[in-house]
Point group: C2
Chain length 123, copies 2
DNA sequence: CACCTGTATCGACAAGCGTCAACATAGACA
DNA sequence: TGTCTATGTTGACGCTTGTCGATACAGGTG
């Protein structure tokens, strides 16, 4: 990139690349290949019924967080629950924290908001 | 773009039976297994980078619709494009209509709105 | 220390998915 | 009719994913 001038310093770059309000509404302009690559992972994470249930269990739990023990009754084995929670974490949709014996998961609001933003329908 | 002559003013077919204001926001209450099963398919459809690009190409195209020929330059072969468009159709996100030589795709707004609704963050 | 419970990881398997080349189908036009 | 273009379908291939049992790790309790 050829940056030959004193920069206006106005470009605000959202610092962490992990928790990213990525893209404009899908109706605004076509996504680039790179944007699509980054963003598809979020939708993919919710593209499994078990993960979608786990996510809604965390999202709707009182206090905004849920212990694994609160949400692990979704009809699959414990290792499978753990596997799906890891996927949701890797996609940036959930964060986890161990407190004593239990591990608590909570929703990452900015990422979910970014997804919702992309689905906004142009009036 | 080429304007087909003497277009038989497109009659809008009624939405498919799956057109769905499915579920409340994911923060409101946990999804049932059945709801999750139905809904995950929509997110899954957008969980592939090529499909996400195709969808945004249709969604952002002028007139709200796009011919396959307008959007097929996404770096995969023509059969693959057709395959992905079929997936998006089956998920209820796109509808298609043949007009003469070309096939036009457009977004199904109610389904996209339902997805956005689910991602609404509780204040 | 030993033991128990909650959660994550490993290894393996079947099923699903993305991709392509080849072929098929639909419409326009000569 | 036949040929050309635009899309869809088929069949096959390899990679990914969801699932489980077995096992490992972490923290509490006795």
């Amino acid at each position: 990139m050829s940056n030959a001038k004193a920069l206006p310093l106005l470009e605000r770059q959202p610092a962490p690349e992990s928790a990213v309000p990525c893209c404009p509404p899908l109706t605004e302009r076509p996504l680039t290949a790179e944007e699509a690559e980054r963003t598809a992972g979020m939708f993919k994470a919710l593209g499994d019924p078990v993960r979608l249930r786990l996510f809604s269990l965390v999202a709707s739990h009182e206090g905004g967080e849920a212990c694994v023990c609160d949400i692990s009754d979704v009809g699959v084995s414990q290792p499978t629950v753990s596997h799906h929670l890891k996927k949701l974490r890797e996609a940036g949709l959930l964060t986890s924290e161990r407190r004593g014996t239990w591990v608590y998961y909570r929703v990452e609001p900015s990422v979910v908001a970014a997804m919702g933003q992309m689905l906004k329908i142009a009036g």
